[in-house]
Symmetry: C2
Subunit: 253 residues, 2 copies
DNA sequence: CGACATTTTGAACCTGTTCAAAAACAGTGG
DNA sequence: CCACTGTTTTTGAACAGGTTCAAAATGTCG
């Protein structure tokens, strides 16, 4: 009889808020963990994850100023991270999808520096930071991998700064679509179609535009035959022309 | 007789491009290294730095796509980092001053993801990444410190995204001035006056504005008695009113 | 089905940009 | 040390892209 504290298959989508799981068995391994480890090393990774946690659409994984304890690997779902301002404005700093990591913002000060909110029902693996830290010391490959993750996040943000600081509305939207498309494609989804899990307003916040501008830009792109839009469903009709709009776009993660 | 390969005082500002130095003796220790280490631990840090390097104004510390080998602790001077676009535009992603670290962008891919250029004659300590990695494994406090540094960089960039995505020109400029003021003040400089080591154009690039807008905004702020501007020298005349402009500004590093 | 949220589209407006020219400054070499 | 050249900064005026405000249309969820 399997020890329920060791391995547990996620058959039911909800209700198992406290299931321990084995990273070595996870089908997202190659996304959030280093590859090329020995059997023994690989099994070390299983000590990483404390618990699973499921979230409903709209629920926060953590909030600004929450004490930082863990990173979260997204097993399923989409999140947004956002920073707020005292006078109510807020800025979406990123969208995170299945296989990506959230929570790096908290390491610096011991408290989270942003909110992370589920845009759809979601499931995450909780990785206690002290544990990661310890195992990384024993497993150089993991340490490297972790440093690379953080560095890539810094570089991704450089890309967003480039976008926010120097691109026009249509370029921003094109860059956003292409980036999301590429990330979803990597994860086995279509390379020509994406489903936007976020509202026009959230896209606008991320891109430094008003929701009306996002909507208008999408409409215009559709008129010009670049894409076709059906609510949250966007199909890329002319990948090359879309790419050409973003020659400014070596950018983004 | 002191071993010249171990300790070397920086008496002459230039000409000693290859001097080894002891971190434990460095007057920037508390800025770039963790505090509260034992004598023995502290001396471990001396293995970190490979060489010093001096740069002339305008010289690049590294460039986009340069192979990544090292991080650099700035001992003296100011740098800008920038990412470029194929069509010539570029975006300044940050300004780094004495005591700060540059180069984290390279860890992710093994190549630098931006240019780092000296805005004035400068001096840096080269910290080979493999060496840092190794010592960090033996010295948990150092590892923590390093992770915190990276995380803070991520959070800083969140702040810049907030600035670029949701603030108006005068708010951006105010946030920029206050941030720089605070960082220089931390390093022992005046809390009321800063010398801008960068051009209006570079400030504009960082803030997502044109140089004319930066200039006009500074002029207007001066008219209103918030600051007084004398070329690159800016004196803050009404810190409280300047702060009030940026209530949007929990932001920036 | 009904209440509420999201999206689309229009028209006036405003902030920041663009283009241009003059002024101030910095570095170079005589 | 000063004159000269190129760069940086300031300021003006016209312009444009994106915002704002508003209303209708479409979707979504209980």
């Amino acid at each position: 009889m399997p020890n329920p504290a060791t391995i547990r298959v996620a058959s039911e989508p909800f209700g198992l808020a406290q299931a321990r799981v084995a990273c070595s068995q996870c089908n997202l391994r190659e996304l959030c963990m280093p590859v090329g480890l020995s059997e023994a090393e690989s099994s070390q990774l299983d000590r990483l994850v404390a618990t699973r946690r499921t979230l409903r659409k709209g629920e926060a994984l953590f909030r600004l100023n929450d004490p930082f304890t863990s990173l979260y690997a997204i097993r399923l779902g989409t999140f947004k991270t956002r920073v707020g301002t005292s006078d109510g404005r807020d800025q979406v700093t990123g969208f995170q999808v299945t296989g990506e990591l959230v929570g790096l913002d908290g390491i610096g000060s011991g408290r989270h520096a942003c909110d992370a909110v589920a845009l759809e029902d979601a499931e995450v693996c909780e990785i206690p930071y002290v544990r990661l830290d310890k195992i990384a010391r024993e497993l150089p490959a993991l340490q490297r991998h972790f440093h690379q993750l953080m560095s890539r996040e810094i570089v991704r943000e450089h890309g967003v700064m480039l976008l926010l600081g120097s691109m026009r509305a249509d370029e921003r939207v094109a860059a956003f679509l292409l980036n999301l498309l590429q990330r979803m494609h990597t994860r086995g989804y279509s390379g020509r179609e994406i489903v936007l899990r976020m509202t026009r307003e959230e896209i606008g916040s991320y891109l430094g535009l008003k929701l009306e501008t996002v909507s208008r830009t999408l409409s215009r792109m559709a008129d010009e035959g670049l894409i076709s839009v059906n609510q949250r469903r966007v199909r890329i009709e002319a990948l090359d022309r879309l790419r050409a709009m973003v020659q400014a776009g070596d950018a983004q993660s």
